[in-house]
Structure formats: C-alpha cells, structure tokens
C-alpha cells in the first residue's frame, strides 16, 4: 500500500460545473433518510457523552442560585416552606389521615421530598430542550443530555433537601428504622420513572408548545393524585370485581383485583413514597407487590419515553 500523501492528487483540482438539468425534482425513494437509532447504540453514545451531561448540570447548578442572596439555602427552604403550608392546612384533618403513629410533619415531609424530585425534574426538564435552544441548534451531542442533566441538578438539590428531614427526626426523638436500607431501591424506581416521563414530555413539548402551558397545571394537580398527603394504603388491596358471596360486610371468593398494584404500575411514585414511609418511618418490611409493578411500570415509562424521544429528535433542530 502506498503511503498517504498530505497533498491529495489531482482529484478535485479541476473545475466541475453542475449540469442543472440533471438534478431531479425529488429524491428517489431508495435514498430517503429514515432515522433509526437502536436502543442500545443510543445508550452507549449517551454514556460516551456523560461528561457533557455533568458539565451542563454543573452549569445549571452554579447558575441556579447565582444571584440569590440566600444561595443554596433555597434547596432547603423550598421544601420546608411546602411542609409548613401542608401542616398548617392538613392538621385540621388529623383524624382522617392515618399516619400509623408517625408525627404529621415527618409523614408529609417524606412525601414532599419524593414528590419534589419528580416535579422539579419534570418542570425544568420538560422545557429543557426549549431553554437550551441555542445549544440545541448549534452543537452536536446526544439531545437526551438536556432533560437528563436537569434530573441530575434536581437530584443534587434533593440531597440537600434531606437535611431538614434529619432535623425532624431529631426533633421528634425518632431514628430511621433499619429497613431504611431499602430506600435506595425505591429511589432507583423513582429515577427510572422520572427519566422516562421527562424524556417523553420534553420531546413532545418542542413539537407542541401547548404542553408547556398545561404542564405546570398537571404537576400541581399531580401532588393530589399521588399519596403525598393521603396514605397509599387507602387504596384497596382487594377490590372486588364480580362473583363470590357477600358475607358480614366482606366478599368471599370471586374475582378481585389489587388496586395498589394497578396504581403502582400507572404511577410508580405511589409505592415509592409508601415504601419509604413503611421502612424508614415505621420499620415494616416493604409491600413488594405494588413495588414490583411500580418497577415494571417505571421501566416501561423509560423504554417508551426514550424511544419517543429518539424518534422525535430528527426534527428538534429544525423546529426548536
């Protein structure tokens, strides 16, 4: 083989003028571009570009409180303020909310922490492609870095927000139960679910800006659809569908469905919040069935969310 020459040979040295009549009006069908990125390939590319994600997260983390007098204290203050409002409002319903003997603020705060990670990521990550428009249209790296980067930032904030939880434990003279070891698993479910939803929503918002208006409403209502205030166990574990006999106020036999498991599949946050409360606060073993469906559900959200994102990304730069 001859060695590469730095000066290319005569090729291209001659002027070639295009014959304009030779250009067809439309491309032939066999060269049309279809955007197909295999799931695993895109994951690998994303992994190769993880440093960009960290850098973007660092940027947002630094910028977030840059000109706020209280700075990072806000990461603590925001959930505490939510807690104060919740306690003020819902202590009137003390009797109707069964916390299993756990003090109200502690019970709420765990829910608020889990919820705020999800809500914060979805809120910021959902519009992350729009807020990074300039980069989106001018630089080249996996686009999912944007929504996922906001999740990283929220995770950091969330970690800081756990500080008041420690104070609450001390104040009420309680300690986290040994079953707390399960909590990282619940967090994993939450992260998978949040990533999936945020990827899907962020890629859809860019095509349909209407979503951007609706999203805050959905997020602020979602807190009531999730067991942040009410206990997860108020969802029936055995919901009778048909058949069987009604004896002494109970159904015996027939077909029933575990609504907790169904709920967990649709909204994995339910079993997650419940799981944290069960283990950390009450010292029970986790209720596995809803957690399992939650895990499967979260996996589905991530898979289909990521697929949607990859499918829609062809147009991002053109319509952003």
């Amino acid at each position: 083989m001859t060695s590469l020459s730095i000066d290319p040979p005569d090729r291209g040295r001659k002027l070639i003028v295009t014959d304009l009549s030779s250009i067809p009006a439309e491309p032939s069908d066999d060269i049309l571009y279809t955007h197909k990125v295999p799931f695993l390939t895109s994951l690998r590319t994303l992994w190769d570009h993880r440093e960009i994600m960290y850098t973007l997260a660092e940027r947002d983390y630094r910028v977030q409180y840059k000109q706020a007098a209280l700075g990072f204290a806000w990461a603590v203050l925001t959930p505490v303020m939510t807690l104060v409002i919740f306690v003020a409002v819902f202590s009137h319903f003390k009797g109707s909310i069964n916390t299993g003997g756990v003090p109200f603020p502690l019970y709420f705060f765990v829910g608020i922490l889990c919820w705020s990670f999800f809500a914060g990521t979805l809120g910021n990550g959902g519009s992350s492609l729009l807020s990074n428009k300039a980069l989106l249209a001018k630089t080249q790296f996996p686009r999912e870095c944007f929504p996922l980067e906001t999740m990283l930032v929220q995770a950091l904030n969330n970690v800081v927000s756990w500080v008041p939880l420690v104070l609450l434990f001390i104040y009420y003279g309680r300690t986290p139960q040994p079953e707390t070891v399960w909590v990282p698993l619940f967090m994993l479910i939450e992260i998978v679910f949040t990533a999936g939803i945020t990827l899907a929503i962020s890629s859809m918002i860019i095509q349909m800006r209407d979503l951007q208006q609706v999203l805050p409403i959905i997020i602020s209502l979602g807190i009531f659809a999730t067991p942040v205030i009410w206990p997860f166990v108020s969802i029936p574990a055995h919901y009778h569908l048909f058949g069987g006999a009604y004896v002494h106020g109970h159904w015996i036999g027939g077909v029933s469905v575990n609504l907790q498991a169904v709920y967990g599949f649709i909204n994995p946050l339910g079993p997650v919040i419940n799981g944290v409360r069960e283990t950390m606060l009450l010292g029970h073993n986790p209720t596995w069935l809803p957690l399992t469906t939650a895990f499967i559900g979260a996996g589905c959200y991530l898979y289909f969310g990521y697929r949607t994102f990859k499918r829609l990304e062809v147009n991002f730069a053109d319509i952003a």
């Binding site: 590469l4 730095i6 000066d7 290319p8 090729r11 291209g12 040295r13 001659k14 002027l15 070639i16 003028v17 295009t18 304009l20 250009i23 067809p24 491309p27 032939s28 060269i31 049309l32 571009y33 955007h35 440093e51 960009i52 850098t55 973007l56 660092e58 940027r59 630094r62 910028v63 840059k66 000109q67 300039a134 980069l135 989106l136 249209a137 001018k138 630089t139 080249q140 790296f141 095509q207 349909m208 800006r209 062809v314 991002f316 730069a317 053109d318 319509i319």
Partner: protein
C-alpha cells in the same frame, strides 16, 4: 505537530426539505392548510433547501462552501455535524468532528470566563482533561487573561466572540466545520484567527469552511463548492469557483440599474487610452454618457469591484452637472488591476430639488475583463483586501 490527516467528508445525493411554514401550526392553521390542499393538488407545504448535493473532502484538505444567504450552506454543515438530519441521501464523516456553528451560543452569561471555557469546551466535545491542559493557551489566544474571572455578561460582544472562537480553535478534531465565524473581534484578531485556521489545516485537520467573505475563503481554502438555490453549481479549485461565483453575482446585481435614479445612464464604457486591450498598468479612460434633468452641483463617484458592492478603490470629483445629455470622462493614469473580471460602479450624490433619492445611487454599470499578470497571492492565511491608490483626471461636459 503535524500528523497524518485522517478526517474526511463525503456527501452523496443529500437532500433536505424544510416545512414552508416554519411556525408551529395552530389548529386552525392546519385546517386552513387542509383547505388549501383540497383546492390545489400540488400545494406542497415544504421546500427543498438542499437538492442532490454531492462532494467529497479528502483527508487534510480545506474546502470552502460559498453562496449567498439562504443557499443552504449552514444547513449542510448542520447535517454533517448531525445537529439536524438530511431528508434523503448519505453523509459519511470519518474521524472526530468539531463543529463551530456559532461562536457564542454555548456561552452562559451568568458564568465567568473560566467556567465558560470548561462549559463550551465540553459542549464542543473536548474532555475536561484536554481543556485543563489547553486552558492557558486558550485564554492567551483570546487575549482575555485579565477578564477571565469576570462574568461573561459583562464582556463586550467582541470579547465573547473571541472567547468562543478561541475555545473552538484548540479543539483539534479530525474534521473541523466552521460556519461564518470570522467576523470576530477587530482586524488584528481576525488576522490571528485566519492564521490559526491555516495552522490547523497544516496540522492535518480537514477543514470545511462556510463563508460569504470571499477574501477569507481565498486565503484559507484550496477548494470550494458553490451552492446556489439549494444545488451545487460548481466545485473545484477555489480561485476558479470564486470567479464563477463573482460573475454570477455581478449578473444579478446589474438588475439594480433599472432602479429609477433621477440621472439616467445611457452608456458606460472603459477602455485603454491607446485603444488597445485593457491591461494592468495601462492608462485608462472611463466614459459615461448620462442624462440629467437639471443643472446642479454634484459629486461623481467611480469605483471598481470584483463581485461585490464594495469597491477596491473609488475616485470622486465634485463639479457642475449640466442639464440634458452629457459625457463624463475620467482618465486614470494607471489601472492597478491584475488579470480578472471586474465591474465598474458609479454614483452621483446630491439630491434633486424636492426629491429624496440621490441623483444616481451606487450601482454597477458595466463589467469588463482586464488582462495582464495574474494576481499575486498574499501569504497563506492573509486576506487580500489592500486599498489601492489611484490618481485621476476628470472632465465633464
């Protein structure tokens, strides 16, 4: 440290379409569109911004994409860097791509210069380790050593652009895509940028450079591709493609002469005084036959340009313009042009009574060929835009 070049670009039958209506369609817009489509079968709803584009950039080569605004140059670069995707065809890029599509879009105003170097560097594809190693070089190149710990929102536009360009200048990719970014900073810095691009190319980086600044294209690229109306019109050695491009622009710009000035150009001519060929260094006469509606004081301008509205030199004269048909003869002692195709531009300033338009707006009136020695090229990486001094003798009547 020159290495063997290993980046190459191949573009095969690339097509790209944009929706005609780039705005996000509302529901009722969609309805209206359906209505239109029902009426006329061939309402397309999209337009082609690239049609059947083919070219190849060999390893180590520098290639320019030239063409007027909206001819598809930037879109093509975006497709190559996978910011957007082609509608049809195939792009193959071998080697690591570095794309500088905009100088400042990666900078965050709230972060300081130092943080921004790391941010933008990472976004452009450098590893943290790389950036740390090159940090001092980058800052020094950007001439921002004193300002590096200041928030970027307190930088001037020029400083921001310098910072952005400097980061990209040290990317060291295999293929560098650069889009129209040399309007950076002052003349000295521009010169520095061009030199840096020259260095990058000598080091073996394959360069694809988009610009409509022909001087910088000639200074830094061996080959050029001319895009016009979504198609490649010509490809080949820079000087030849640029000449074709300039001729085409002139042909378009002569349309300007139909613009209604108050003075009409009846004839315009340029010839050697001795009656021979127009050639370098010969004594030359510019003759214009004009028709004026009134007698007035006015300033006459004559300039020569090469494919742009910006003349290489201008000579002017202020005197009395007679009413009716008259002839202007402007004798140049010396034609300071190398061989090439040029156009003669002219203008008459001053305003006719009660009108807002000048007597004659700046416009090309005739194009001509000059013979003589070839242009001498400036050193590599230097833009040739030297002003020329020409003495002249004027005669009006």
């Amino acid at each position: 440290m020159p290495t063997l070049p290993n980046g190459s670009v191949e573009v095969e039958h690339v097509w790209k379409k944009f929706r005609s209506d780039k705005a996000q369609p509302f529901f009722y817009d969609q309805l209206a569109r359906l209505g239109r489509q029902a009426k006329s079968r061939n309402a397309t709803g999209y337009r082609w911004v690239l049609k059947d584009v083919n070219f190849k950039v060999e390893p180590g080569e520098s290639m320019a994409l030239i063409g007027i605004n909206g001819s598809g140059k930037t879109t093509l670069l975006k497709i190559l860097s996978q910011v957007t995707y082609q509608s049809a065809g195939k792009c193959t890029v071998q080697g690591r791509i570095g794309a500088l599509l905009s100088v400042t879009s990666g900078l965050h105003p709230d972060l300081n210069g130092r943080e921004n170097v790391f941010l933008y560097g990472a976004v452009l594809g450098m590893s943290r380790e790389d950036i740390r190693r090159k940090f001092d070089t980058i800052v020094e190149f950007a001439e921002l050593t004193d300002a590096i710990d200041r928030q970027v929102k307190f930088y001037s536009m020029g400083m921001q652009m310098r910072l952005g360009f400097s980061i990209a200048a040290f990317l060291e990719p295999d293929v560098l895509l650069v889009d129209e970014v040399l309007a950076v900073g002052d003349a000295n810095f521009q010169q520095k940028c061009l030199q840096r691009i020259g260095e990058i190319v000598r080091d073996g980086t394959t360069l694809l450079y988009v610009s409509h600044d022909l001087a910088s294209v000639e200074a830094s690229c061996q080959r050029a591709v001319w895009l016009s109306d979504a198609v490649v019109r010509a490809a080949g050695p820079t000087s030849e493609v640029v000449t074709m491009y300039r001729t085409a622009i002139e042909q378009n710009s002569t349309v300007l002469t139909t613009k209604e000035g108050v003075v009409q150009v009846l004839k315009a001519d340029l010839r050697a005084t001795d009656g021979g060929q127009l050639r370098s260094e010969c004594e030359t006469e510019v003759r214009l036959v004009l028709k004026s509606p009134e007698k007035a004081m006015a300033s006459f301008f004559v300039g020569i340009s090469q494919g742009t509205a910006f003349p290489m030199f201008v000579i002017d004269y202020t005197g009395t313009m007679p009413e009716g048909d008259f002839e202007v003869v402007c004798k140049l002692g010396y034609l300071p042009l190398p061989k090439g195709h040029y156009s003669l531009w002219t203008a008459i300033t001053g305003f006719p009574k009660g009108k807002k338009d000048p007597y004659l707006p700046w416009q090309p009136v005739v194009s001509f060929e000059a013979f003589g020695p070839e242009r001498m090229d400036p050193p590599e990486g230097v833009m040739a835009m030297t002003p020329v001094y020409v003495g002249a003798e004027w005669q009006i009547g």
